[in-house]
Symmetry: C2
Subunit: 356 residues, 2 copies
């Protein structure tokens, strides 16, 4: 299959760039004390998860039950972390079903939720791993370092659960473009996470896992003694927002679109908008052709501004780099894997659009 | 099925509010000279399209081929308008297949595209309706009023095509919150569209259709003599952005979410973020409970700020009104139809997530 046989809009992966990203992150983790448990919320694609595991990842991180279900349904047998709280009878029921099929660990930040998870695990006859989620300064979910030992104690003594350690995502650091500031905020966050660990250890509980980091902080957090796992995920495909942070990974992801209108010499319009390339981190960037910039996005259109002499006609193709890969990928059914200008394979995004 | 048996996040429709919206728009169109051809890009749901047709809509408007395919696949036999340019061999091939199953009309703004569509229609042995798309001031797709007659002439003389008239979406007017300004911009846009019509008529071509309007301008554009059809769509379910315009339609759509974390007295966190409620038109609003506002959205979380005394606990439910219904609905597989606090039905959003 050739590029011009792909219906648009479509997601393309530049496979050599992606492979280099995978190798680069794997090499970093091989050289240090922190292992990689990549976050698959960015790609939701079993094929990419398999490649990350083959490159040495010790397991997979998911944002929600639906993502882990997609991976398990594809036959991936890994050590899964759902790096998020799972609450209520419907979701905990789904989680316990998964825990009967693969090793599952979940984040907790509430004693009643710990009790609910333990009861569900016992009913299902499974053992569920738990990490205590620590608020390291992002102020979303998570307990304070002071409260971590108490909750760890509850988890460690709840039948059906296995207390494995702690996690704390420094999401308030990962996008800071100034490296010095990013280091400062990430180190400050990890000081809180390690304080929580020390309190848990002081309470006499073993701590197997201390999990943290995103793609913007992997080489800061990953060098801090005591951090055992990195949850970075976006590094594999990247986007313009993470590129602005100055990471050593290439943008492997583009949206292929078709010009549907060329109303004036300065303007052309593409067949993709908010429903195919998400805007929350800014406008996409034109990868090719040259001389073209994005003026605005609307629901089903991208309006382009053309420099003088650019010859785009209806039917011509344009490649855009998304500002936010994770939410853009969530809108598509498959990736087209491109090598040497040819479609090498299509990879199903089987976890996409699973809002639950 | 009761509300607490729904897994979250989930889309709810308040059915009586939606029915009132459908009735109100149908009543407006019954009383005037412009008929309703509602845009189904907002809901992408055959059940809702059927209700709009049953209430008197003369056909359906779609943004892209994939939406029309979803409606035809569900057995809806209507007069379809794809209010957008369809370009290239793959998409035109899909369009001609549809034109063999239902009455299809498409927008055009380019003579080469007209030739491509005509050739594809002849190969497929179908007749495709066309409307000349006129730029009425939004400056996206569309020809100038001066160029409309020439393109209409090409379309009218291309075998395989049937020239039906013109369309011109005043998208730059629909969200203007000042009614006087909205009227001024919409009337100015329709002056351009009717100028284009007059040029086509002067060239000796019959004009059956002059199609325009969104939910923000239906009662302005719909009262202008010469406008034959309204493409309004969002009125059926609404959102906070269209509510801010001051329309006589109620917000029938909410996202049901679950509290997954209550880390502090002032903060709670929900199990929905950018991947389940889109942010391009602003943060969602909390419908219930009272005393709760949205502080921020991230990829899988909504962080809430709670007034003193609000008792939300993990597992409790919260209903959010999206700022943009169209892109939020695109993320879900189904609506839950709610009447008297009970789930009356589930309606499949069969056109959702069809990026092509």
């Amino acid at each position: 299959m050739r590029l011009n046989e792909i219906d648009t809009p479509a997601l393309l992966i530049d496979v050599p760039v992606m492979e280099d990203n995978i190798d680069r992150m794997a090499a970093f983790c091989r050289g240090g004390q922190a292992a990689l448990r990549p976050h698959i919320k960015t790609h939701k694609c079993p094929e990419l998860a398999r490649r990350q595991l083959a490159a040495g990842a010790i397991g997979l991180t998911c944002a929600k039950v639906g993502e882990a279900e997609a991976m398990v349904a594809a036959g991936i047998d890994a050590d899964f972390l759902i790096a998020n709280e799972v609450v209520g009878p419907i979701k905990t029921g789904r989680l316990m079903k998964l825990a009967g099929q693969a090793r599952m660990t979940v984040a907790v930040d509430d004693a009643e939720n710990v009790a609910e998870l333990g009861a569900a695990a016992r009913r299902a006859g499974v053992t569920l791993g738990v990490l205590v989620d620590v608020d390291t300064g992002m102020h979303r979910c998570g307990v304070s370092p002071e409260a971590a030992a108490s909750l760890a104690g509850v988890a460690a003594t709840t039948p059906g659960l296995r207390f494995r350690g702690l996690m704390g995502y420094e999401g308030h650091a990962v996008f800071l473009t100034d490296r010095t500031e990013r280091e400062r905020v990430a180190r400050s966050a990890m000081t809180l996470l390690l304080e929580a660990r020390d309190r848990v250890l002081a309470a006499g509980l073993p701590v197997e896992v201390v999990s943290a980091a995103g793609s913007g902080t992997y080489d800061i957090t990953g060098r801090i003694p005591g951090i055992t796992e990195l949850e970075a995920g976006s590094y594999i495909l990247m986007d313009t927002r993470y590129r602005s942070v100055g990471l050593p990974f290439g943008c492997a992801l583009t949206v292929l679109a078709t010009v549907i209108s060329r109303p004036t010499s300065e303007r052309a319009v593409l067949d993709v908008g908010f429903k195919g390339i998400t805007p929350e981190f800014g406008l996409p960037e034109v990868k090719r052709p040259e001389g073209v910039t994005v003026a605005r996005l609307s629901e089903e259109h991208t309006t382009l501004t053309l420099e003088p002499g650019v010859s785009l006609r209806p039917g011509d193709r344009v490649e855009l780099i998304p500002s936010h890969g994770c939410t853009t990928i969530n809108l598509y059914e498959r990736f087209y894997a491109i090598r040497d200008g040819q479609v090498q394979a299509t990879w199903v995004i089987s976890g996409r659009g699973k809002s639950q």
